[in-house]
Amino acid sequence: MSQSRRDAPPHTAEDSFVAPLAAHGTHVPHSSRSWLWKMSEHTPLVWFTSLAIGGAGMIAAAALRMRPDPAAPAVALAVGTVALGAALLVSTLHLGRKARVPLAARGVGRSALSHEILLAGATLAAGLTLLVMNWQAYPEVWARIAAASTAILFLLSIGLVYRLGGQRTWRGATVLLPLTTGLVCGEVSLLVIGSASIREASVAFWLVPIDVIVFAARWWTLARSASALTPRRLDASRLRNFSAARLLIFDVIPLVLLDMTAAAPAMIAVALGLVLDRWLFYALADQHTTESEIAGVEAIIEHQSRIR
């Protein structure tokens, strides 16, 4: 290969963007440009998962708390079912061929995404069934346990869909986040509209710390992958700021407000925190490709040449 070929000027759009900065010795993350673009691409999924997690969490919490005071859980059940239904509608927005949605069931037994979609449908059906049963009489215990179990399985399946070998930031404790955030959301919603008996038996003060532990584990994993010797696109300060904001809005503020028996503001904070959590999840996606791997190798070479 000739020298002129090796030293050829950048020839792609991204090179044109990066080269002026790189020429001045500025470290430019390989995919820095794509951060905002990724968010516009993932917006329907942010809303789908936010609504689905919140809705399924409400269904699970309400189904388990229908006795002795069924009135408040019934409201939470109705809101959760509507939210989940809306989530399913929103989920179709990002499909290229919306009319082919029924084909999504073909992957059952193999595809985690098919399992998630089927469980979403099953949770919606369970919520509706429980609402109808509640209209007539107290739902039977088996019906409530079945509905809650389906909702919990659905929350777990959301995490499993994104446990992918080529995604460094969606592994480990991240898989459990939809479950913990969903259950927190459901429990706090019951406190907003619940009676004194529900408030006394609330497990929100247990669920929130569990979510803190799970999120902290994810945060720790992300911080390690963003270390200097792992040349990825994750920017440490951005990660720290957004993760701290998420922890504050979803966990700390609601916990303080619940302690002050201000359940309604706590629910607002939880809802905002849930959307921020899902936004952060997609914003910090780190898709492995040959290009990203090569960018990593180039950064290692650069690092080695600096310390020599």
Partner: protein, 194 residues
Amino acid sequence: MSGAGFLVDLHRCVGCGSCVLACRIENGRTEEPVWRRVVPLNLRRHPGGPTYFLSVACHHCDEPACLRGCPSRAYERRADGIIVHHEDCCLGCRYCEMTCPFGAPKYDEQRGVVSKCHLCADRLDQGLAPACVTACPTEALQFQRPGVAAGGDARAGVPGFVDPAGCRPNIRFTPPRGERRVVLFAAIEEAIRR
């Protein structure tokens, strides 16, 4: 390699892009997305440093993440190991883009479906080599028949190409030879090991 795939000779590849052009012409892909691409290692950051080119497309993996993840079973493995994608079954959900650690499936915004390299299966059925292989002027890109082990110094991974998801891609690389190998290729591997 158990299925059909590619062998890339990093010593011979000059990054001319003939394979990319041939792929586009053969498959009528005049606009994005492009199935095959040539990814240069260290072309721009360190002009005096090691450089080689990875010509990559779909690797028709033995354990394909796209096939496992697809909710509509739009992916199918042929008897010769080629992973074909049936666009008429594709939802356009782009989940395969997330699952594939090599960036092989590409979403076509205009048509609302994903597409990817099919290893010129129709040409293979006629006894012809894939278009990209035929067009390579230095014979750096070669077709590997199913069940035939890549001989010589061929290896599954090189700096810049790893298999993080256990997909077992059917692509092998022959490292640079002679002085280039000692000075350049080995230096990168040494840097990564540290």
